[in-house]
């Protein structure tokens, strides 16, 4: 039996195959990620290149020829004459990138600090957990606005557009690490008194090695669950921030920016400018959430 088929036969995969919702969600997420990653190859237009835009194509409805130029766009165009399909694909790229990076950042930061706090204890723990308090004190929205403001003050102007994305990542990541830290610290407190850790300590293993080799693997389950749900949260958070004017720039819009722009057209009849980005975001976040849900149950042996 190969390793692959062994994995397929595992409890984990068995539970996966048994859950149609999980399978569908997984496929949707994969399809969307595929679309985002290969956007430059798939997308009919490049919405980032202003020279290719024709303002006269603006507000063309889906599947209809433009009144001015006769071009046809599957999902219509926005007010700048940008092809919605291409814009959504590129926007998803931005949203997913921000989401993944923010979660990665939060995860690395949160897990390390949580391990450290739980295992070392003492004043290290006190300092870390109080920093966590400060962090919790500022709701994600405020953290993001703060970092955005500060970063804008310090970045050379010609880098600001690229910077916006990194600031979003930093802001969303920073507002999210506490969850990881708290869970990991809690689990570490429990694990470190277990016999196998005591044993490792007795045979003279170093602290760092005990933390990484013994404790970390035991807390990865809940971390994975939090990470999945955080991904959905991060994508939504980015959209929310764009409503407050601190999202991705409209020249390189994320799904959130597209929705923020699109909500201005809710009453004007150009429904496609809001509907398609909205549905895409819903499909993305919902699938990720459903996967996270399933993962939680699957990793919780007591619920089988």
């Amino acid at each position: 039996m190969t390793a692959l088929s062994a994995a397929w036969q595992s409890d984990f995969m068995w539970s996966f195959r048994r859950s149609p919702l999980a399978v569908i969600s997984f496929l949707v997420v994969m399809a969307l990620i595929f679309g985002a990653v290969f956007a430059p190859l798939i997308a009919p237009h490049n919405p980032y290149d202003p020279a290719t835009l024709n303002l006269l194509n603006g507000f063309t409805p889906p599947m209809q020829p433009s009144a001015m130029t006769g071009d046809v766009f599957w999902l219509g165009t926005d007010g700048q004459g940008r092809d919605m399909l291409s814009t959504i694909l590129y926007g998803m790229r931005v949203s997913l990138f921000v989401g993944f990076m923010a979660v990665l950042f939060a995860l690395v930061l949160g897990v390390s600090l949580g391990l450290l706090a739980g295992y070392v204890g003492g004043w290290v723990e006190a300092v870390i957990m109080r920093i966590a308090d400060v962090q919790l004190t500022f709701p994600a929205i405020l953290v993001a606005m703060l970092i955005f403001g500060i970063a804008k003050g310090f970045t050379p102007v010609h880098l600001r557009d690229q910077m916006a994305i990194w600031v979003l990542i930093l802001a969303i990541g920073l507002s999210d690490w506490v969850q990881f830290a708290r869970v990991v610290r809690g689990a570490t407190l429990v694990e470190k008194n277990k016999e196998y850790v005591q044993a490792a300590r007795l045979i003279g293993r170093r602290r760092s090695s005990i933390m990484l080799r013994h404790i970390l693997p035991n807390v990865l389950g809940p971390v994975l669950v939090i990470a999945t749900i955080s991904l959905a949260l991060a994508i939504i958070a980015e959209a929310t921030l764009s409503f407050l004017g601190v999202g991705a720039p409209p020249t390189q819009p994320s799904l959130g920016t597209l929705i923020r722009i699109g909500q201005g057209f809710l009453f004007s009849g150009e429904w496609w400018i809001l509907l398609f980005p909205g549905l895409t975001l819903l499909a993305l976040a919902l699938s990720v959430n459903l996967l996270g849900d399933w993962l939680r149950d699957a990793l919780n042996p007591r619920l089988r």
Binding site: L142, R182, G186
Partner: protein, 328 residues
């Protein structure tokens, strides 16, 4: 216990000071208040004069210490935009936010617990699974979009509920309330749902998983074995035991309800402190921003502090880590 309380109290104060410092330092990056205060015909002299009048030409640490000193005496300064004491403005706006937060909290808790129990008891049922999946839609769309869609459906298309504001309010002492008029109550519905949807989903899922956990415990099995009816088992035994974590999480979520009110209040033009804060950012009204952030911080820190103490009382071994260990 006393020593621990004092230690935590001390830490809480330090936390607040840091929050204040961070908040205060951000203002200089938000923008320049001067341009919003002077008309288009103002001269450079006017600008310099106003700057020194507001103390904005002083070094940053001086401004911060001054702000702290005044804040300790309950003086948050005068709003740049409205020309009125900030404390007065916040006192005027707070009831709107608190009432909205209370109603959406109530909505989240009652519906959340009811649905949580239902989906736990009928874990394999079709209805429960549909509810579980649907509940995720609420957290898979940004709040502002949900709010606007609700307005579109219930105000514009159906014409059932008002599209913005608080309706008629009644003054009871210093408190303006929307609870006592029909239009006030109607106006609460859409914003409360928008704001509470996320928390509702959270509570529902928490109750469900806690319930499932408890239902597997031995004493529940014994209770069943003793022949107690399902209803008594579910509600008298199981539900009761799930409530402790629910209360904790709800407490912590209270703070974020008020913070997230910023978005809901903007969409519904709800005249609370969240909208006040957004306006303050727009006009770089530093005293209002500072007071708002400090207020929110005090609230969060107080809630954290109380939760910590409760946990200490219950389980000195674990202290604050169990707060979110269960579910997130």
């Amino acid at each position: 216990m006393l020593a621990y309380t004092i230690k935590r109290l001390f830490q809480a104060v330090v936390v607040l000071l840091v929050v204040g410092l961070v908040a205060f330092s951000m203002f200089r990056f938000i923008g320049d208040p001067i341009d919003n205060m002077l008309g288009q015909e103002a001269t450079q002299e006017d600008i310099t004069r106003l700057r020194s009048q507001l103390g904005l030409d002083q070094p940053f640490p001086v401004q911060y210490v001054k702000f702290l000193g005044n804040a300790l005496r309950g003086d948050f300064g005068v709003s740049y935009r409205q020309g009125r004491p900030v404390a007065e403005i916040i006192a005027e706006r707070a009831p709107a936010t608190l009432e909205l937060a209370a109603v959406s909290g109530l909505f989240a808790i009652t519906i959340g617990i009811a649905m949580g129990v239902f989906t736990a008891i009928r874990r394999k049922g079709l209805a429960a699974n549909i509810i579980m999946a649907l509940s995720l839609i609420g957290v898979s769309l940004p709040t502002f979009l949900i709010g606007i869609l609700l307005i579109y459906i219930f105000s514009v298309e159906l014409g059932w509920l008002p599209s913005f504001g608080r309706g008629e309010t009644v003054k009871v002492g210093d408190w303006t309330t929307g609870f006592l008029t029909e239009s006030g109550l109607k106006a609460l519905i859409l914003p409360a749902i928008t704001l509470g949807l996320y928390q509702m989903t959270l509570i529902m899922r928490l109750v469900r998983s806690e319930m499932l956990e408890v239902l597997r415990q031995d004493y529940i099995r014994f209770a069943r074995a003793r022949g107690l009816s399902d209803r008594i088992v579910h509600f008298r035994h199981a539900l009761k035991n799930t409530l402790v974590p629910v209360i904790t999480v709800t407490g912590l979520q209270l703070g974020s309800i008020i913070a997230f009110a910023i978005i809901t209040e903007t969409v519904f033009q709800w005249p609370g402190i969240g909208l006040l804060f957004i306006n303050a950012i727009q006009f770089v009204d530093i005293p209002v921003m500072a007071a708002y952030l400090l207020l929110i911080s005090v609230m969060f820190v107080a809630i954290n502090f109380i939760v910590d103490l409760l946990y200490f009382a219950v389980d000195p071994r674990l202290r604050d880590d169990a707060v979110t260990a269960g579910e997130t």
